[in-house]
């Protein structure tokens, strides 16, 4: 680690402070934990994990900048060969596949959700959170996912939209649950709610 002597009085610029680095690293790991832990054991063949709530939780809790950074780091760890995606997948192969758009969309979704959450009412309001999660975690994310399917797999846009439809109910439920989670977190730690004035 090269230590660059640089004036940095609470610089809100591009450089991440030690505190920021720690939050980004730990929340990238949290996204992994959400995917590796079967959160709901309903005895079905497909383990239902909460990993797709990762962008929502990171954006809502960390704000746009650190939220997006933590998802970027998560993707970097996956690319470097850690099996962190739900089901133990990972490596460069997932970025060569047709669903790459959803992965690329995660940091953007976290950014949008963080941006919206920072502008939300204080104390945290559930309805605002759900709307933020739907806009970032469904609308924005699906745009990236569909673009990926069209670009990488040559599917037409209407077909790509149809592929997404079965996932809408589950993702709506996750938007609500993620907002409940954010409310629960801010109920205990109200000063951690991200805001514009205190961009972390």
């Amino acid at each position: 680690m090269q230590l660059l002597r640089r004036e940095q009085p609470a610089l809100p610029g591009r450089r991440l402070s030690a505190r920021d680095l720690a939050l980004v690293a730990v929340f990238a790991a949290l996204v992994a934990a959400l995917g590796l832990f079967p959160a709901i054991s309903v005895g079905s063949a497909v383990p239902i994990t909460l990993q797709s709530m990762g962008p929502m939780i990171c954006g809502a809790v960390l704000g746009r900048r650190l939220g997006a950074a933590s998802l970027l780091l998560f993707l970097a760890l996956v690319a470097l060969g850690l099996p962190l995606l739900a089901g133990g997948h990972g490596g460069l192969a997932v970025f060569a596949g047709p669903t790459v758009g959803y992965l690329v969309g995660w940091p953007v979704a976290a950014y949008v959700i963080g941006w919206l959450t920072e502008r939300g009412p204080r104390p945290y309001r559930l309805s605002w959170g759900v709307v933020a999660h739907v806009i970032g975690g469904i609308v924005v994310l699906y745009v990236f996912g569909i673009a990926g399917l069209v670009w990488q797999a040559g599917v037409t846009v209407p077909h790509a939209v149809v592929i997404n439809l079965p996932f809408v109910p589950g993702d709506l439920a996750k938007a609500v649950v993620a907002a409940l989670v954010a409310r629960g977190v801010f109920a205990g730690l109200p000063d951690r709610q991200p805001s514009i004035s205190r961009v972390r």
Binding site: L21, A25, L36, L73, L77, G87, L92, A96, V185
Partner: protein, 198 residues
């Protein structure tokens, strides 16, 4: 923490990480530019033949292909119905080849070697304010944090069971996020104490 890397001493294991990544990118670009059955088939054949070169059996090959197969079937059928069946063949075979080649790089390259490549590639970006060493530190912190947060998740789950709480996603995620924040605060202080902010 288990990595996807599988140790070995094959030519592919000994090939430098940067070269493998460069070849992978070249294969990706090539398959996009040459959208034709012949190059796609050749790429898939090459990918399949490279697995024994890396001393991997058919089982490993199947493990890499299996997760993408359902998506590829859907994509292939939709592509065939909306465009053309030769086009569907090129798309599915080309994607499968890329997935297998990318998995091969992951299987034969240590994570640390890939991190070194990332840090090296980012070096020119120093001009626009990116600190490659800081990115390297962040990657290392991320790798270290995964088992820690998994432990936190296991603790939360145990606490829930002990109190006889039903497994609800919210009851799991809220304490996990709060504990993660506390851990991050402690980690941030430790990093600051080591002069990361100076």
């Amino acid at each position: 923490m288990r990595f996807l890397y599988r140790p070995g001493s094959s030519p592919l294991h000994r090939c430098p990480a940067g070269a493998k990544l460069l070849l992978l990118v070249a294969a990706g670009v090539g398959l996009v530019l040459l959208r034709d059955p012949l190059p796609a088939s050749a790429a898939l054949l090459a990918a399949v033949l490279l697995y024994p070169v890396a001393s991997f059996g058919p089982r490993v090959l199947w493990q890499q292909a299996r997760p993408v197969l359902p998506v590829l079937v859907v994509v292939g059928v939709l592509h065939g119905l909306s465009a053309s069946w030769p086009g569907a063949y090129v798309t599915v075979v080309g994607l499968l080849a890329l997935v297998l080649l990318a998995a091969l790089v992951t299987l034969t390259t240590r994570t640390t070697a890939l991190v070194d490549v990332v840090v090296r590639v980012l070096r020119p970006l120093r001009i626009v304010g990116v600190d490659p060493e800081r990115v390297g530190l962040l990657l290392a912190l991320g790798v270290r944090s995964v088992p820690v947060v998994l432990d936190l998740a296991a603790e939360v789950r145990e606490a829930q069971h002990a109190r006889g709480l039903a497994a609800s996603p919210r009851a799991f995620a809220v304490p996990l996020v709060v504990r993660s924040m506390r851990h991050a605060d402690a980690l941030g202080e430790a990093l600051a104490a080591r002069g990361v902010d100076d």
